[in-house]
Amino acid sequence: MSLSIDDVKRIAHLARIRVDTDEAARYQTQLNDIFHLIEQMQAIDTTGIEPMAHARDLHQRLREDMVTETDRREAFQAIAPQVEAGLYLVPKVIE
């Protein structure tokens, strides 16, 4: 497997990271080196092996459906890049 420059640009866009062509070329080499390392996995037959998602077999805990959080909007919005009237501001998304 080998990623092309266009592959790298597509992945970067999926990840919402802007890359210019020079950067994409640098990432292309590095990512291909990393995938070369990762390809070692393909030599192992894992038929019938149960995938392991987690270190411990866990079950999700349940709790009473009660309000446990207090309203801390002001503290949280104090660290936001742009807020107005209690709302987070982003560029216009609907024309």
Partner: protein
Amino acid sequence: MLNLSLRQLAALLAEGKTSSVELCQDYLERIERLNPGLNAFITVDRARTLAEARAADQRRAQGDAGPLTGVPIAHKDIFCAEGWPTTCGSRMLANFVAPYDAHVIERCKAAGMPTLGKTNMDEFAMGSSNETSFFGPVKNPWDERAVPGGSSGGSAAAVAARMAPAATGTDTGGSIRQPAALCGITGLKPTYGLVSRYGMIAFASSLDQGGPMAASAEDCALLMNVLAGFDARDSTSLERPVEDYTRELDRPLSGLKIGLPQEYFGAGLAADAGRAVDAAIAEYRRLGAETVDISLPNSRLSVPVYYVLAPAEASSNLARYDGVRYGYRAPQYTDLTDMYERTRAEGLGDEVKRRIMIGTYVLSHGYYDAYYLQAQKLRRLIARDFAEAFRQCDVIMGPTAPTTAFDLGAKRADPVEMYLSDIYTIAVNLAGLPALSIPCGFGRDGRPVGLQLIGDYFSEARLLNIAHQYQQATDWHTMTPRGLE
């Protein structure tokens, strides 16, 4: 005073021979003197630390002191601490002041341990050398040409240079143990789920685990009594009875069975590091332990498996850095997508971007089975190897890292070479096991070597005992870097 153990510092406080304020002043002065050269701390806030110290002294005066009340600690800058900048080593969070405390911070506050500062780290804990930090690399106190290891490199350097008697770290693929080894200190990565991840900025959630870093195993045992505990706000926190992690420290080692995995002593291990590890194992034999050769046949796959699973989880966890609710936002953009893309391009460093891109790719349509699912299956084989090994031995020993600390800049241009420096630590995270690194000598270059002890699930007290007995018989853990005495 600066070379005393936590137990000795606590005793001085209890006897009234010093106060927390005096102690913190001593450490803060040392930080002021040494940190400009070592860069181990990102944030120091003298007034805040001394206020916490005064509160600890008051608490003691009121007869309300716990075992470590007044003993200060440094925190890796991955732990949210209310009112402290919490940067995670990233430009993305350079202006982020945490609005709440991580569970680990709450526990230390409840114990009355003042915060000495927030320590430098690889950006979002992604790195093995501390060179990916937005705030510049940390220097190794043993040799300023060398890296301290990573990602908890600031914590390791702070303890090694005695700028703090103890520090917190986190370990996703070796990030407590490898810097502990490279800086000549003791660091424990607990069983997954013992230390809450609440307020610990997420990298790879199924692998991340907080733990203690200090000079000795006894110090780490005292710290585990503070850090470990159930927390309902972390869905993977384990509900277990409260343990005293110091309870087994004095147990003799006669009859201990040490497993030596052949894969950890192969061609990849530098000769000088190997000699120090061999000498440590010989010391264990003198202390009454016996050794048995074991095999972890799938451990060689741990690096490729990790570089699928950890980036996959990271690509999801780091999607939250979008420039909307907190953190960096690019100053100029045309529309929403452009704002996201510029914010992340400018706010994140190269290594973080690489890992997000790997994760995005391995989770994308058509590649999931070949990468993510295959890696999860191999993860089970790696975990099974350990289960098999623990039928033959009580503890597994080997090197923590294949070499002593490498030079700053030596591996920065080659990500794959950097990844391989964690070859002996990553399998432990994939299995979720506890492991610690203790200093066991020096390489040809005078830089420290670490011995890794891997235990079965929940065997922390025993692991700390095994490390403590070695530290009773040897003095590697008491040595301090030249010029920093």
